[in-house]
């Protein structure tokens, strides 16, 4: 299952109500497109931090149709992951802190920003 095709969502920043809404929109979008799986990667500073799951349960427990895989990733892995992921990626940026240069990934990135 994990090697199958996924609708990829990367999430940066703190997951708050706005972030939850954005994620719900992504899940809806994936359903509309006829996708079967969504992978949500949370880029976190502390790998042991799973507090985002508290808010994320609003997304997870509302979904019944798609497979959803949730991963915690170290922030430093972001560009590496963008590099290795071949398909389209939705990147939700829910924070103001500076980010690495993402211009070379423009073609495969759909960026959704805070606010």
């Amino acid at each position: 299952m994990l090697t199958g095709r996924f609708y990829e969502v990367y999430f940066l920043g703190r997951l708050d109500e706005v972030g939850v809404e954005k994620l719900k929109e992504c899940v809806f979008e994936a359903t509309k497109r006829g996708e079967e799986r969504v992978r949500i990667r949370f880029y976190v500073r502390d790998g042991a931090d799973i507090s985002y799951l508290d808010e994320l349960k609003k997304v997870l427990l509302e979904n019944v149709l798609l497979s959803i895989v949730v991963e915690s990733r170290e922030l430093e892995k972001l560009t590496e992951d963008l590099e290795s992921d071949e398909g389209e990626i939705t990147l939700i940026i829910n924070e103001d802190s500076p980010l690495p240069d993402l211009t070379r990934f423009q073609k495969k990135l759909r960026i959704i920003r805070k606010g």
């Binding site: 994990l2 799973i50 799951l53 508290d54 994320l56 895989v69």
Partner: protein
């Protein structure tokens, strides 16, 4: 004890790793707190220890664990189900600990309801916590142990993130595990990071060919005959998964696994046993007869996990099928069988909203009649149902609850247990004292009282005449009867204190 090492350990706590004295229904006591007796005694009644071999592998184990064990062994992994008392012994050698549970934190009915009524944490959650706290987890995690938690209650970890962190749960898997689990195990073996949460959607459930046969006995010989349900009730996730009927060859193989190791009785498991081999809800009498003949050939006694009331009525009225199955089941000394059924509501208005197809092929307007007819058929054929009701659904009005109370009055003459389940909205569960936030109305109290007196009255007869007749179960029978007397005394006192009109006498069975 031997020092054979297992790379993958599958387990759960004592409330699940028990055959409940061979009486599946007694297992329901694990969903409550100890009432009227010390917890140790309560646990002995509800979940006595399981016999184990020299390595701590249990004689019988929950079916879901057995399925994963078989899957992993078929793929060449060194995996075993281990009894909770022996997990600590193996843990420091293991790479992966896999957990499963029906109700890790007692947040599902009926545990949540016991908790709500008694304000005491049920023993299943306490037992699970005790078990986890008893393990040398910190040391094992330091050595690289990965922990994967799954089972029907996997979602509950989202409400106990503190414990997920404290015990170092790496991944939670919600949904049918056959496909995902091998991917996860491969990740561990190749040193890749695991996902934190996986929900397995309908397109990733295994096909029949991917479902392995268990290799060791399941609790009380339970065997799955199908997965999924076509009725589409609004509150139920099972219905979203595709229907899969297990072939008779697979079923027989699993029956023999059990019988060979001395588990000579069994439970046919499905969300609706009567839909085995059916096309949608169109019954397949031939498939059912063959299935039961097979069970009769191998088992000393047969039980069903669940059946729908509409299918019970339809089976008897169109095919005389309950009577025909009775002829097969009630032989070799067996004279009754048990099953769980869902009434859910007595209100046609609410039924239309939440379960419009539950009464099919009968119109939903006839739901109360379908329920009563099915109860009559079961009573006449010695099928003993444990029925559930759902109270507190968001769409429910006081009139709906009154309709349910009226239906309960009509069900008095039929041998059965009726258990009300309280719907607890997910939002409420995030508070530790969630049970103080649930609104229980006077109408709910009336329904709960009716259920209680109905079930207590019938339970006395069921225990005496059907359920616990074997001589070696006399102590259990005695304790259960004491428990029933204690409950009656408590409820009488409560009714008096609250100035409620006593309804105990009205609950007496009027037909046999």
């Amino acid at each position: 004890m031997g020092r054979t090492r297992f790379d993958i350990i599958l387990t759960t706590d004592r409330s699940m790793m028990s055959n409940h004295h061979g009486k599946e229904f007694v297992g329901f006591m694990t969903t409550g707190p100890a009432i009227g007796m010390p917890e140790k005694l309560w646990m002995w009644i509800a979940a006595p220890k399981m016999k184990v071999d020299s390595l701590g592998r249990p004689w019988q184990a929950p079916y879901a664990l057995r399925k994963l064990e078989a899957l992993l062994q078929d793929k060449g992994y060194n995996a075993a189900v281990i009894d909770p008392d022996y997990v600590a012994h193996h843990l420091l050698d293991a790479k992966i600990l896999m957990l499963s549970h029906h109700d890790y934190f007692a947040l599902c009915p009926p545990s949540s309801e016991w908790w709500l009524i008694t304000r005491k944490e049920p023993v299943n959650a306490k037992s699970f916590r005790r078990f986890m706290n008893s393990l040398p987890l910190a040391k094992a995690k330091e050595r690289g142990l990965k922990i994967i938690a799954g089972g029907p209650a996997a979602w509950q970890w989202l409400y106990r993130l503190d414990l997920m962190s404290r015990w170092g749960i790496d991944t939670v898997v919600d949904g049918e595990g056959e496909r995902i689990i091998i991917d996860l195990v491969e990740k561990v073996y190749s040193g890749e990071p695991l996902p934190r949460y996986v929900f397995v959607g309908p397109s990733d459930v295994p096909s029949i060919e991917e479902i392995p046969a268990i290799r060791r006995p399941s609790i009380n010989g339970l065997i799955e005959i199908m997965r999924g349900c076509p009725r589409g009730c609004k509150f139920c996730s099972v219905t979203l998964r595709p229907l899969r009927h297990m072939p008779l060859e697979l079923i027989e193989k699993e029956m023999l696994v059990n019988v060979r190791e001395g588990v000579r009785s069994g439970i046919l498991h499905s969300e609706d046993v009567l839909l085995y081999g059916a096309k949608g809800i169109k019954l397949n009498p031939d498939a059912l007869i063959k299935l039961h003949q097979l069970a009769r050939k191998h088992w000393e006694s047969i039980a069903w996990s669940h059946a729908s009331l509409a299918a019970v009525k339809n089976a008897e009225e169109e095919h005389r099928l309950i009577s025909r199955l009775r002829e097969i089941i009630c032989s070799k000394g067996q004279d009754y069988w048990g099953v769980e059924v869902g009434i859910e509501t007595g209100s046609v208005r609410l039924a239309k909203k939440i379960m419009p197809a539950k009464s099919a092929p009968y119109p939903v307007e006839k739901w109360p009649e379908v329920v009563e007819d099915a109860f009559t058929i079961m009573h006449e054929n010695n099928v003993i149902p444990a029925a559930t009701l759902i109270l507190g659904l968001p769409e429910e009005t006081p009139e709906d609850v009154v309709k349910t109370a009226e239906l309960l009055d009509r069900l008095k003459p039929y041998r059965s247990l009726i258990v009300p389940m309280f719907f607890v909205p997910m939002g409420v569960l995030k508070n530790k004292d969630w049970f103080t936030d649930v609104r229980v109305t006077d109408e709910h109290v009336e329904v709960m009282r009716r259920c209680l007196w109905h079930s207590v009255r019938w339970a006395e007869e069921i225990i005496d005449k059907f359920y616990l007749r074997e001589a070696h179960l006399s102590p259990l029978k005695y304790l259960l009867k004491m428990f029933l007397s204690y409950v009656k005394m408590k409820v009488r006192a409560y009714e008096k204190k609250m100035g409620l009109r006593p309804i105990e006498a009205e609950a007496a069975p009027i037909a046999h």
